[in-house]
């Protein structure tokens, strides 16, 4: 049957058809839908782990138990999971194990633009890279065959444009994979120095054999072209842009496996053309390898290592022409993402701004607290960095800084890697004020459950980690909960905890305004007779409020009636005590 599937859904279908029965992942754009789609198959046990490292270790354990296993993550998630990655490369697998990593060239929803192919090379693991949904399905299945044939975890590399593009796939049937009984094998699975020393040569030999396999594999295919003036080596979306620009004019070596690279095949291809061009997104990974093989490449073409490629960028480099359109001679104001109307984070960020706090931010919707007019954030690095960064900042700057600095971190991010930072705060005794923005869901990636929500990935009720008890157990004596819609309560909590001579946690608790079960009071009405145009309500950056003819106007299609602006209006012009709707 033919179906239109996202690259991520197709990869999940590949897992299903390959008989995968264990999935553990942490959500991250653009990887999330692989795991969400896999969880819909009743044959697959699927879970959200608290972070990528835990997910990968769980998937390893499952493959050891004899089940084909999977974990998926975004590029920066692989940094978190890099520790197990480099060592399960040494142990190899029992049943097949596949790890998907999704890069985000162009940083549509990420904090950096790293190129995950370097991980395959560094960890000495094979990496397959599909160029559309049909290949995502095919390569996911192939990855299990390779994993078991070569005794290795296999990386499946996605990117935003493959992960989030739908294309046509042919669905197959699931073939159950027989459970491979676990056998004790300390020399293979206990990576202490003596054993690891014996395993390292096995890894190098495996890489040599995989290179041999790559030489003849049909996923690394040379496509003929009419004009041998130029030959193009490419993969993934770059391949699609090359074909879009040049059709079958030039010969193309299309790589489905980007590590290890088929050296003989590349040299042979280079010999068949007058000049060699490598078209790849982000770093010059394949190109550097070609140069190491002594091949001159790319000639007059210059592909940027910054930002994602596009059909026109590739067309220009290869053909020196590309289509153009008519730009409107007009200043078009940008439309950056904003916190939604009714977002529970808004009130809390307003409080932090009013108190002139130094704010250590973290990864999630609340990173939007950095955007004007709230602009209440000083730094954002990676998952969990808010709490640990604040600790270092406070320790290094002395007591005065702790009186005005806070960390903000979401519930899911806190479970991911904030909790270890809080342990450091308690253990090494900084007077940090940590604010957990508990909106009862993993928001930015599209509402995934997490250990604090009491629901698992399959939608079943499960153990709910209690944030207050956890923080107290860590050794934080001052733990309090506030409602971020209540500005006076937020202000009081922030002032009191900043003043305390010990670490404290404020849990700012209210579910995400977009959750289906959340009932809103409905839009408030503004009273133009009372509005004096002071713009106090404009300080919170709510998309539902705008000034028209110097009066605040509420967009009733957006306003949820959260009441935060009502509390800011000294003239009782915004809904007052009564909310309409």
């Amino acid at each position: 049957m033919k179906k239109l599937l996202l690259g991520n859904e197709a990869a999940a279908r590949g897992l299903y058809e390959a008989g995968c029965s264990f999935v553990s992942s942490y959500p991250g754009t653009p990887s999330t839908e692989i795991t969400e789609a896999a969880a819909k198959y009743p044959e697959i046990y699927a879970e959200w782990a608290p972070n990528e490292k835990v997910a990968m270790e769980a998937a390893f354990g499952a493959c050891l138990a004899g089940r084909r296993s999977f974990c998926g993550m975004k590029h920066v998630g692989l940094n978190v999971a890099a520790d197990p990655l480099f060592t399960i490369s040494y142990t190899g697998v029992n049943a097949g194990m596949v790890i998907a990593v999704a890069d985000d060239a162009g940083m549509h929803s990420s904090q950096n633009e790293q190129d995950s192919r370097h991980y395959a090379k560094a960890a000495k693991l094979p990496m397959l890279e599909p160029s559309d949904s049909a290949e995502a399905l095919h390569f996911a299945k192939l990855a299990y065959e390779l994993s078991e044939a070569f005794d290795t975890p296999v990386l499946l590399k996605m990117c935003t444009r493959i992960a989030h593009s739908q294309s046509v796939v042919e669905l197959g049937e699931r073939v159950e994979a027989a459970v491979k009984p676990y056998e004790k094998n300390p020399g293979k699975y206990i990576m202490m120095p003596g054993n690891a020393k014996r395993r390292h040569p096995v890894v190098e030999e495996r890489l040599r054999k995989l290179t041999e396999w790559a030489e003849t594999a049909d996923i690394n295919r040379a496509e003929p072209g009419k004009d041998h003036k130029m030959g193009i080596i490419t993969s993934s979306t770059s391949y699609q842009y090359v074909k879009e620009a040049c059709g079958d004019t030039y010969p193309v070596l299309k790589l489905g496996m980007v590590w290890p690279l088929p050296e003989k095949k590349i040299i042979e291809f280079a010999k068949s053309v007058n000049s060699l061009v490598v078209v790849e997104e982000l770093d010059s990974f394949i190109e550097d390898h070609c140069r190491n093989l002594g091949l001159a490449c790319t000639g007059e073409c210059s592909f940027p290592i910054i930002d994602e490629l596009s059909p026109n960028k590739v067309a220009y480099e290869l053909t020196r022409t590309y289509p153009t359109g008519v730009k409107l001679e007009e200043d078009i104001p940008p439309r950056p993402p904003v916190m939604c109307a009714g977002c529970p984070h808004r009130g809390l960020f307003h409080t932090l701004k009013q108190n002139k706090c130094t704010v250590f931010g973290d990864i999630g919707c609340y990173t939007l607290g950095a955007v004007a007019p709230l602009a209440a954030m000083d730094t954002t690095i990676c998952m969990g960095a808010s709490i640990s960064g604040l600790h270092g900042f406070n320790k290094a700057s002395g007591g005065e800084a702790a009186g005005r600095s806070v960390a903000v971190i979401g519930d899911s991010t806190f479970m991911h890697s904030g909790v270890t930072g809080l342990i450091n705060t308690a253990y090494n005794e900084s007077h940090s004020t940590v604010i957990i923005l508990d909106n009862s869901i993993t928001g930015m990636t599209g509402h995934q459950q997490n250990p604090t929500t009491g629901v698992n990935l399959k939608g079943d009720p499960c153990t709910k980690i209690d944030l207050e008890s956890l923080c107290r157990a860590i050794g934080i004596q001052r733990v309090r909960v506030v409602d971020p819609y209540d500005l006076a309560a937020c202000d009081q909590a922030v002032k009191e905890e900043l003043a305390a001579d010990e670490p404290s946690v404020i849990i700012s608790r209210r579910p995400c305004a977009l959750l289906k079960y959340v009932k809103h009071p409905g839009p408030i009405a503004s009273d133009p007779a009372k509005c004096v145009g002071c713009k106090s309500c404009m300080k919170i950056g709510c998309p539902a409020i705008s000034m028209v003819d110097k009066k605040a106007v509420i967009d009733a299609t957006l306003c949820t009636g959260c009441g935060v602006c009502t509390q800011l209006c000294k003239f009782d012009a915004l809904g007052g005590g009564k909310k309409e709707g």
């Binding site: 989030h164 593009s165 294309s167 289509p323 008519v326 200043d331 950056g541």
Partner: protein
């Protein structure tokens, strides 16, 4: 046939994903090769969003670049203006005239440009601008703007109304089906 390119643009949360899903379903039943490209994550939070729909005998790139779009379907007027450079010569813009202020306009840092429909037409673009929001409300829900726009777009395609309705039935939940069909018909007839 040569690949046809449709861009669906709007403000995150306006429901453009349903429009692309509907188009994808319809084109699949017609036996085309198709690619539909979406962006998820942070940009969905009220930011400018774009979905690319491409179909033909063989489609390579999942995205559409400048000067390539046969149609730009816009949920919001400023967004139509933002993406005009992507329109192919002879291409067509189908846009809702609804205006949603972006944050720089809300805060007063920028102004919402005036007379955008006229300016696009003056620049030589074929612009079909109409109030899709009112028609959606007439059909029963402001959220049905996507179906109103698809109805309007459908006038430029050779597919029959029955084929569109079949694709709608496959794309929306049963309880909203009649309302969505009404919205489509209003757009198509408007």
């Amino acid at each position: 046939m040569e690949t046809k390119n449709i861009m669906i643009v709007g403000v995150g949360g306006q429901g453009s994903l349903l429009a692309s899903k509907l188009l994808g379903r319809l084109l699949l039943t017609k036996g085309y090769d198709i690619k539909v490209s979406e962006v998820h994550g942070m940009s969905q939070r009220g930011g400018s969003v774009v979905t690319y729909v491409r179909y033909g005998d063989k489609v390579y790139s999942p995205v559409i670049d400048k000067g390539e779009a046969d149609f730009i379907v816009s949920f919001e007027l400023l967004e139509a203006a933002r993406w005009t450079e992507y329109l192919k010569k002879g291409g067509k813009i189908v846009t809702n005239t609804q205006q949603i202020n972006p944050m720089p306009v809300i805060t007063g840092a920028a102004a919402y440009p005036e007379n955008l429909v006229e300016k696009m037409a003056q620049a030589g673009m074929d612009v079909d601008a109409f109030d899709a929001l009112s028609l959606a409300e007439e059909a029963g829900s402001a959220k049905a703007v996507n179906l109103v726009l698809m109805g309007r777009l459908s006038r430029s395609f050779y597919f029959t109304e029955a084929e569109w309705m079949e694709a709608i039935a496959q794309s929306v939940p049963e309880k909203f089906l009649e309302m969505n069909k009404r919205a489509f018909a209003l757009g198509r007839g408007a």
